[in-house]
Amino acid sequence: MSSKGPKVSKSKNSGGDKGLRNLVVGMLIFVLVVSAALVITKKKSITAASTPSSVTSADGWGIVFNKTAKPQIDIWEDFQCPVCQRFEAVNSDYINGIIRAGKAKVVFHPMSFIGNESLAAANAAACANDQGKFLEMHTLLYQNQSATENSGKITTDFLTQIGKVAGITNTSYDECVVKGKYVMWTKNIEGDASGKNINSTPTVFVNGKELDRKTQYMDAAAFKKALADAGVK
């Protein structure tokens, strides 16, 4: 490095200041390195997390329908994402029909990158899954999506309310929502998605291959054709 500024030389008498300076430098580096090491090494999937029924690490911790059917459809989504809401409006009748008829294995990966209300919604969807009402909850969460993200709409009260609308009568659902039973599980979903290069929601894979976002997501006919080509009768 050559300086074009005024010619400078290091000060000779820098006794006391140098001690303070080295101390600050040393402490800063120490604290940063230790905290970085702690945070980075902690980033493995959390095996102690409670997982909803039907969930395994092999399927990326997603909520699975028709475990043995083929082909496999994977959907990454965030309940607060407006584009996911549109995707749901366009394709959910068809997808739910496939699930009920057992024509494909469908895996839902509810993500929570938009914030805490996504996390709460994903947790509630998993709670509803334990009661056999995931698909109902899925639809209701999108139908009641807030126009702005993390607006304060998705509270435990709101989630237990729409749980009732979904037809859940069991109080263990309410408890699951209030306690945030599956919050750690949502972290595993995020971690798995990171490894699979999922950069946006919705993202749809059919047999491990991503559909074309520009042409096959928001066009019901094109979406149907893509699935038919993959073997959905």
Binding site: L28, L32, F113, G195
Partner: protein, 164 residues
């Protein structure tokens, strides 16, 4: 001459606060949400997934370190060079994302520069690029004039040129 020198040392202090504060805030926010931090590196599609995720985990700490060093005023010149290079890399990354029509900014996807219907919003990329170019310029200023007010770096003795 003395007046200029006086103002310049305050300008250096201000430059350190702006650049350091931006780095510190950027890094701190990402440390709080490491999955989003990883995504924000992956969206530029410059690195293999594993490398991008690793960088997403480590880069925020580097930013925090650079930011703290600038604010406190340690090794200002070296840290300014590092920050400038980092910002220049960001400018390149955003520029190539713009050219390839890749959505950036994972606030909500399909919104960071490219909407779901494929429309490209130049302003999103442009404001990010302008901001980072501004930070590159501030880094360069700190490289030229690293010694200012309220820093822990020992100010140098300035040898006056003959006849000044």
């Amino acid at each position: 001459m003395n007046l200029i020198r006086k103002w310049s040392s305050w300008a250096t202090f201000l430059a350190r606060l702006i650049l350091g504060g931006t780095l510190l805030a950027a890094g701190y926010l990402k440390i709080g949400n490491s999955y989003n931090a990883q995504t924000s590196v992956r969206v530029y599609k410059l690195l293999p997934v594993g490398a991008a995720n690793f960088l997403g985990l480590t880069l925020p700490w580097v930013e925090v370190a650079l930011g703290l060093f600038l604010i406190v005023g340690i090794w200002v010149r070296k840290v300014a060079v590092g920050s400038g290079v980092l910002m220049a890399i960001f400018v390149f990354a955003i520029g190539q994302a713009w050219a390839r029509k890749l959505p950036i900014n994972c606030g909500c996807f399909g919104n960071g520069g490219v909407t779901a219907d494929g429309k490209v919003h130049a302003l999103t990329y442009l404001t990010e690029i302008m901001r980072d170019i501004g930070l590159v310029l501030i880094s360069y200023y700190l490289y030229r004039f690293p010694h200012g007010k309220l820093g822990l770096d020992k100010a140098p003795v300035i040898e006056k040129a003959q006849g000044e």
